[in-house]
Subunit: 294 residues, 4 copies
């Protein structure tokens, strides 16, 4: 089984002022990410505004990423979860052909009440049966309105092609239980502030918005943990709390893109309905960035 | 301002056994709906599995409906809410060109925490400014995870092109407040069991899954109310409670399609991940249908 | 079976400036309520700040109410739900001895996750078996965090001593289903803005904070409905929407008590942690009261 | 400032078969807890069924605990949160007089919607101003329906008498943020499965149902962490996941009391409405206990 351990940004998509994908900017960003202490990139994830893309755009940005990473030692983990089972199978197979190392798959979520245990198992197993690459389950109730239960997560882990999960709900209690039941499951923190807690229960890394522009301190934290230097790891973890909140729960993708613009990457505008940050919110992020060693 | 008062089914999409759209079956259903005591159809709505469609399919089924209703006195209310503002504008304009009488627009909902008052106002106003047809706001927290607040709903109603709303959360307290503040807002019940309560607070009709196959009793209820025969209206409303639950909260689209199959329409399969009902659930719906006069 | 149909305020408890019960003020209020077009009072309910009382106070205010209503044609419906089964049985028996016509019983709610169907049935049946008076189930998820399900409500209705319910969640869809299954269940709206919608599905009245000081328009609405004058009933219902929100969801008990102070009743202070309204909020309520004919 | 770091059980209350407090059994348990590798006990907490107690019982069990711990090096952290501000002040002062080292105070929670930032600050500050002992904020949304926000928690931490918090929601992201903002805040895990994650972000211990009967492995985990032996700490943490779930989210107090009965303590019955476990659930807990070294 492939070992995906490590640190990944769910990378943002570069748009121009007309809300079209700015492929040149995306490629420049990718060159930059390749030079960072990262193990690869996740694309598209929630922060890439995948929900705002057509199927063609979805495929096209996966291809750009796969091409940019070719010949490097970085992995592409492709986001391939669509609302239908057939669509998810198709997108996962395309990702595999493009060279993605794994697929990160969020559950169908429009018909929330219908997404019961049996339906989710049936969906993920159908995809896994047809997938050429290993699958990570993506649990992100803040976006999907669905919180994959302990029971469902363990049942999913029974499929040989489902090798891990990203948990953006930062539920250490549930994920410790999953890891107790399935020791080799590859569990990723889904937000920067949960990295050390997830490592402490046997997690193997993180897929974190913060890693879009703050790979360095996250890597230092990760290495401090691996070297048994918990005091240092804790210190770094807390030093990232404010900026992590700013680019996730507080200001969302708009905040993340602004922070990238201020950190040597191209952030650029979001697609609407997401709006640019106002002046005072930008000043708050400026202030938080001053204290970071990026 | 156009008066949309009346009863509408958010019609289902006919699929064949390979999960492709069965246009012939859809057209047969449309002929049947045209003959029913309905004021038109809503397409695509949640029950049409719009979340499972490509943009091309979305446009194509709107066209089929518009063509089928041409020359009849029935209206097409088109579902045109997409995740992006630009996409929603485009789809609403297409619906207008195809001849839709109005657009029913659900809010963008992937980035739930970001869909604050200002963002929703900005989104809906941008769409309304560019829309050739009047707009109904579609509040359906069970699917979107977003419950449009009283304050936001009233602010939306201030735009001259936003003339009403469908509230699937059946929140009579909130919608009475909206109607007290904006007396000519056209408020539709979003589920069959809320029709009479919504009429009692000044609502003007319903957009109800149940109307896909039970237009007759819903029309009888509506006329009893309009004729001041509340006892009869109440009796019919309660007689529909069980079957309404079965084709909405209990069994969802799968239940609705099965009930249609048993009532002279083509229901057919859903797209996956939605699954067909099991035998015992089908028997329960059979039982409920026996007691209905359709 | 006793028919409790009608309109009731869940009356507030008068406190003095030291947060002690002001029995004289409570008695004056009771004389006033007796003269209003009401069918009785509910005491203690949520708005009485029952959650802030000792057991002794709880008994003592029930006694004051029972004594004040003696010799009138008004009923006391006593709130007797405690966290324990034994405590609820005891309080219900005391209420019966004091002369209450019925008991309104909210579910135990601290251990929310444990309050599953079987536990709630076991609790309510144990109480009903020992109760000398009929029981109304009190569903108020905003305060208890527990939403009694359709299935549980129907099972509760099977006990001969459980004759009805107050639903503060204004769930017309669920309560229509309950009334379809149990036609003689006595269902009360739990907030003023839901009165007409509940009457429209066969409800028999309301237990409404608003009735503390606005019995007259609520009675006019009720009679318009009973006389088949739906247009007038709808008109009154909408005219109460703003003030109803102010004394419930918007400003809670503090708002209700202020509105009472301005309407010929003694409202007085709440117990802390609830705080008095600020100046601007008081002005908003003043404005709303101007438009009412009390 | 007193340093409360360490491990505490929120101890259960012993009841006899008539649901009366079994003081003799409680005292025997206390003798047993004193001999365990614990830093004290919390009483009453949620698991003590405090919600089911009269005020007199509440005081009386605090006194029994204080007396039993006298002359030992174990601390009593008293649960003193009541629904009213005045009641909480009174109970906290009594706890102080009895010798409690600190008070663990859950927020008033009946009027959930009214418990906004300002109201909570006003309440806690009023209590802290009158308290003779330091205060820990108790955040337990599963029972209170209130999730104290980051902003409120940081504002509470500004009061010199509010020195820490127990977070039963296991929200590592929020508590890391609190610790980044208030480095000397004493943060306790509120469930056994969150102990190591909380230690990893700078927490200082745990108040955990599991510690009622499994102090030994929790202490081993705590010491492994303090000695920099993270691999061992992680191993123990995962080994406790199943039993921790059984005595909290899965079976609640009934499960906890049964596990105690099987581990050398007196668990005994709960008060109703909580019910005893059925046979098959007891067998599941038996199975989990076999694998523990207690």
């Amino acid at each position: 089984m492939i070992d995906l351990s490590g640190l990944y940004p769910p990378i943002v998509t570069a748009f121009d002022d007309n809300e079209n994908i700015a492929y040149d900017k995306l490629q420049l960003n990718l060159q930059h990410w390749v030079s960072q202490p990262l193990d690869g990139v996740v694309m598209p994830g929630s922060n890439s505004e995948a929900a705002f893309m057509t199927e063609d755009e979805h495929i096209s940005i996966m291809k750009v990423c796969a091409d940019s990473l070719k010949g490097t030692n970085k992995r592409l983990i492709a986001g391939t979860g669509m609302e239908t089972t057939a669509g998810t199978i198709k997108m996962t197979q395309i990702a595999g052909r493009l060279g993605a190392a794994a697929a990160l798959i969020l559950p169908p979520h429009f018909f929330k009440a219908s997404m019961k245990h049996d339906v989710l198992i049936s969906h993920y197993y159908a995809v896994a049966d047809e997938s050429p690459i290993p699958i990570l389950v993506y649990n992100v109730p803040a976006f999907t309105g669905i919180d994959i239960t302990l029971e469902t997560m363990i049942a999913l882990a029974n499929h040989p092609m489902i090798i891990g999960a990203k948990d953006s709900s930062a539920n250490v209690v549930k994920m410790a239980h999953v890891l107790a039941a399935v020791p080799d499951f590859q569990v990723f923190a889904g937000t920067g502030s949960a990295l050390l807690p997830f490592l402490s229960i046997g997690g193997c890394g993180g897929v974190m918005a913060l890693a879009n522009f703050a790979a360095k301190p996250l890597r230092q934290l990760y290495e401090a943990f691996n070297n048994g230097n918990m005091k240092e790891a804790t210190r770094i973890q807390l030093s990232l709390a404010h900026i992590n909140a700013a680019v996730t729960s507080q200001y969302g993708v708009s905040g993340l893109k602004y922070a990238m613009d201020r950190s040597g990457f191209y952030g650029g505008p979001t697609r609407r309905p997401l709006l640019a940050l106002g002046e005072s919110d930008r000043r708050k992020i400026d202030q938080l960035l001053i204290n970071l060693d990026l």
